[in-house]
């Protein structure tokens, strides 16, 4: 994982894993194991020791930190950094204090990030529409300094008289900058300071340092012209060690990447393994470094990483250590004759690249200078020691251009005659096409993309059509269900899931007298669903409409509701329900019925002086009719009535029409009696006396006491009804009725538990049924109980 300079929403943390191959995933998992240590494991980073570090703020505006700020920063780091891990890191000796990054908990990631990601990707695809290409120059230098300290002017190397303009970017790499054990084992990087100061002095005041990064003796420093600094973003670095045991930093690579205007650039400085015979090892080094260096993909929200090849321009410099496999004297002979062509033909790097074994897709400018290794330090003589190492082009500069980017223009590729090291420094200058954003065009295209996204999002919302928003049930009668259908059709492009939802702060979807089916469902495009709405008023809900009072004087009571039919991820549909309930003596209360002298549908106001009736007139009419017309009827109360006839009878009761105006069987009237009693909102024996009644049922005397405590209207009704039933039983010979039959039939309607009560269970258990029947039976067989 790479170091990151842009710390916006990214927590920095030291990675204490000495394996530089550590992947993002393992990094974050180690983070999870140490959740409490994230703020205490920061140690001094290489970068904080540098002078004039260019850091990128979260607005992507680079700022130069003053030395004071850096000291403060370092102080902060030290304060935070005293931890076991720090000490362990030092002792361990394999640490290079690479600042690793961790990410916020993935649960912080929101839907919006995905949108932003999509927009960013689209914008990238259309980059050419809002950028123009501008030629800029980059200077790359590499020098294996063999542990030497700066002693001679760098002008011959870094100042290129052939370039009419100063380079826009300088990338300078060193190898063997520090050969001490401290550097290798303790990560000491102080040796780089004089070199960096020397470079800054050479470049004078026109440049600012972007970043420098060091791995033991391998140092890479990137400088840019001051004018470019506001256009640089996402500066990151990473290291990869491939030295002793494949992990020590004596060999390896250091990379720095950044966005330069809208072009991404990656520069990698490496020191590959030495010796003539180690060609395959060097090839492998190159691949390992390529693979192990990773950066955070800052344009993504999903923690993905990019590698060195995911850049518009990639430059690879360094002591690659490839040799010329010819006898020493032959090489020196050819050098004298400046026959570089024939030497280059056998150059190991050239051979390996031609064979496709390493640096695939890379290019190198033509070499027109003598091998840069190995000299007797401080002289212009090639190696005169016993080892007599054959001269070689160890120090190279290569580049690779991303498929979509334009190729570079080569300005120069040469060596400089600095003699303090056993290598000569090498430099190359290129012109690269930099993509520069045209702000107006970018804004226009950004808006186009956002609009396109909005359009797609709106178009992909579910849409449906409902056949009507107003459902009028007109007249609704007691216990007569009425259904109406709605047709709901998916007229959108996507699957529509729907559901009726309650109103704000409510838990029920609709009024209790309304049933909706289905309550939820799904439609594929063009599919239709029929939604059934059924209104059914029974004695549980009729009380809402039936009670006469003086404030309303309409024959019928309004029934209204608004349903909310919700489409998932889409709109809501309101459906207004309306109807008029036709008042009836059914589903009413005894109290209301005895107070109201008029036919129930008449709805005249109650006269002020009106006395209560002793029993409901409707009950009197029913019983009176049966008394005169049906007492001797066989199967009275046993045989069923006819529904249609019972509805007609009910209408007569509610309107005071005479029964003579309709025709019906006596059984319909008998059942009407039972239904009337059953429909009472509260039964003749009120809910609050239900349990007492059950308890009293074993003793006739207790039953008598119980009944004497009934409210007066209820008592009247009970008395009247029992008297009538006794009269009925006196015709037993004709109607063949038994007291226990009648007791069972009437006890169920006279004695009911409250529907809200726990006693309410269906079907009732046999004991309860018997108790209820017993209660009535006492009155039917002991005539003196109600006198």
């Amino acid at each position: 994982m790479g170091d990151i300079q842009n710390t916006d929403n990214i927590e920095s943390n030291i990675d204490n894993n000495n394996n530089n191959n550590v992947s993002l995933e393992s990094s974050s998992s180690s983070q999870n194991n140490n959740t409490n240590t994230t703020t205490t494991t920061t140690t001094t980073s290489v970068d904080n020791l540098q002078v004039g570090v260019l850091s990128i703020s979260d607005q992507s505006t680079p700022t130069i930190e003053t030395p004071n700020q850096q000291q403060q920063q370092q102080q902060d780091d030290n304060n935070r950094g005293v931890s076991n891990e720090t000490i362990k890191a030092s002792l361990d000796g394999l640490k290079h204090n690479s600042l690793k990054t961790t990410f916020p908990n993935s649960t912080n990631h929101q839907y919006i990030d995905v949108n932003t990601q999509w927009i960013t990707n689209k914008l990238k695809e259309r980059e050419s529409e809002f950028t123009e290409k501008r030629g800029m120059s980059i200077f790359l230098g590499t020098w294996n300094v063999n542990g030497k300290k700066p002693s001679e002017s760098l002008d011959p190397w870094l100042k290129d008289p052939s370039m009419s303009l100063q380079p826009d970017i300088y990338a300078i790499g060193f190898q063997e900058l520090d050969l001490t054990a401290e550097a290798l084992l303790l990560g000491d990087t102080t040796r780089s300071l004089p070199w960096e100061q020397h470079i800054l002095n050479t470049l004078q005041g026109d440049y600012v340092k972007l970043l420098s990064k060091q791995l033991v003796g391998i140092l890479l420093c990137v400088y840019v012209k001051k004018e470019h600094k506001p256009h640089i973003a996402n500066v990151q670095s990473d290291i990869a060690a491939v030295g002793i045991m494949g992990m020590m930093g004596n060999k390896g690579g250091v990379a720095i990447r950044f966005s330069f205007y809208n072009t991404t650039i990656c520069i990698l400085n490496s020191h590959l393994n030495a010796h003539m015979d180690n060609v395959l090892r060097r090839n492998q080094d190159m691949k390992d470094i390529s693979k192990n260096i990773k950066f955070i993909n800052e344009s993504s929200t999903d923690h993905s990483t990019i590698n060195i090849f995911d850049h518009d321009q990639l430059f690879w410099i360094g002591d690659l250590n490839y040799r010329i496999p010819l006898p020493d004297n032959e090489v020196k002979e050819k050098i004298k004759k400046k026959d570089f062509y024939n030497l280059f033909l056998v150059d190991q790097l050239n051979q390996q690249m031609k064979a496709g074994a390493v640096f695939e897709g890379f290019q190198e400018p033509p070499i027109s200078f003598a091998p840069t290794y190995k000299y007797d330090a401080g002289t212009e003589e090639y190696d005169s020691s016993e080892k007599k190492r054959t001269p070689a082009w160890c120090d190279r500069i290569l580049w690779k251009t991303h498929k979509k980017a334009e190729n570079v223009g080569i300005l120069s590729y040469k060596r400089a005659e600095l003699i303090s090291s056993d290598h000569r420094p090498v430099s190359a200058s290129f012109v690269i096409k930099i993509k520069v954003v045209i702000p107006d065009s970018k804004n226009r295209i950004y808006q186009e993309i956002v609009k396109e996204l909005d359009k797609k999002e709106n178009d992909s919302m579910p849409d449906a059509n409902i056949s009507t928003n107003m459902v009028d049930f007109e007249t609704i009668k007691f216990m007569q269900p009425i259904s109406k259908q709605l047709i709901f059709e998916n007229i959108g492009q996507v699957i529509a899931r729907f559901q009726f939802i309650p109103k704000l702060d409510e838990t029920i979807l609709c009024k209790p007298w309304l049933k909706i089916s289905p309550l939820a469902g799904m439609m594929i495009p063009k599919e239709k669903v029929t939604i059934d709405l059924t209104i059914y008023v029974d004695n549980l809900t009729s009380g809402l409409f039936n009670i006469n009072n003086n404030s309303t004087n309409s024959t019928n009571e309004s029934m209204d509701d608004i349903l909310i039919l919700h489409l998932e991820n889409g709109k809501d549909y309101f459906i207004s329900i309306s109807g008029k309930f036709q008042k009836t003596c059914f589903g009413n209360t005894l109290d209301n019925l005895v107070r109201y002298p008029h036919p129930i549908r008449n709805n005249l106001p109650i006269p002020p002086e009106q006395k209560k009736l002793s029993i409901p007139k409707e009950l009197w009419r029913i019983i009176d009719y049966i008394y005169y017309n049906g007492l001797k009827e066989e199967g009275l109360f046993i045989k069923s009535g006819v529904t249609k006839e019972m509805e007609l009878i009910r209408d007569c009761l509610d309107t005071a029409e005479p029964f003579s105006s309709i025709s019906f069987s006596i059984h319909s009237m008998a059942e009407t009696l039972i239904r009337f009693l059953e429909s009472l909102v509260e039964p003749v024996i009120p809910f609050n006396m239900y349990q007492q009644a059950l308890d009293a049922s074993s003793s006739p005397l207790s039953c008598k006491t119980l009944v004497s405590h009934l409210p007066s209207v209820n008592y009247n009704v009970f008395f009247y009804l029992i008297s009538f039933l006794i009269e009925t039983l006196s015709n037993q010979k004709e109607n063949d009725l038994k007291p226990d039959q009648l007791a069972i039939i009437f006890s169920t309607v006279l004695l009911r538990p409250s529907p809200q009560s726990q006693l309410s269970q269906f079907p009732p258990d046999a004991t309860t049924v018997k108790k209820k029947a017993d209660l009535i039976l006492h009155f039917l067989i002991s005539k003196d109980l109600i006198n």
Binding site: Q110, N443, D454, R497, I501, I516, F574
Partner: protein
């Protein structure tokens, strides 16, 4: 990419008397078109639209509500959790302006704290039949800290501007969460009862 890359999402609700042009304003803003005979909204329509400001991007999730008075009691379902509201009236109707004032008061009383309210006098294309003076509405808006604009969904005059002004006025705090004012499908209990999912922003 140093601009536009932060998207802030806000819930916006349109309120106002029936037939003042709420849906027309939304459709002009979102789809860029206008229908002479826009069906009346019986329910609440949902659309998304993004406004690009210089430094930020504001995404509105817009709830267009039914204006008919019989649905008044359902309005809180839609303005609850809204960070912005456009209260619309018809410049040809005093009544609709009075109704708008009532909506503003209801929002100030029961809406989200710090809700950004815009007052929009719509049907500016019919200014010849104007009954509500600009100055009167302007003054009311100023006194109550509302954004104010006279708009025409038909000619598109001031429609984008209205949304842009709201977008500018909304606070772009890091805590602004991309929420959804939508009601999620909730499991059904039984019979006629269901659970209502709370809006999450």
């Amino acid at each position: 990419m140093n601009n536009n890359n932060k998207i802030f999402q806000f819930k916006l609700v349109l309120l106002g008397e029936a037939a003042v042009g709420k849906s027309s304003l939304v459709l002009r803003f979102v789809r860029g078109h206008f229908l002479d005979y826009q069906e009346s909204t019986i329910g609440a329509a949902f659309l998304a639209q993004t406004v690009c400001l210089n430094d930020t991007t504001v995404k509105f999730e817009i709830w267009d509500t039914a204006g008919q008075e019989r649905y008044h009691t359902l309005a809180p379902m839609y303005y609850r959790g809204a960070q912005a509201a456009i209260v619309v009236y018809d410049i040809r109707s005093e009544d609709s302006f009075e109704r708008a004032i009532k909506w503003v008061k209801e929002l100030q009383r029961q809406g989200s704290p710090n809700i950004v309210i815009a007052l929009a006098g719509n049907k500016l294309d019919l200014a010849a039949k104007r009954k509500v003076e600009t100055a009167e509405a302007q003054q009311y808006a100023e006194e109550n800290g509302l954004l104010f604009m006279e708009t025409s969904a038909k000619t598109s005059q001031n429609v984008n501007e209205l949304f842009v002004e709201i977008a500018k006025k909304l606070p772009k705090t890091p805590t602004t969460r991309p929420g959804s004012g939508r009601v999620a499908i909730a499991p059904i209990d039984n019979g006629n009862t269901g659970k209502k999912n709370k809006c999450c922003n």
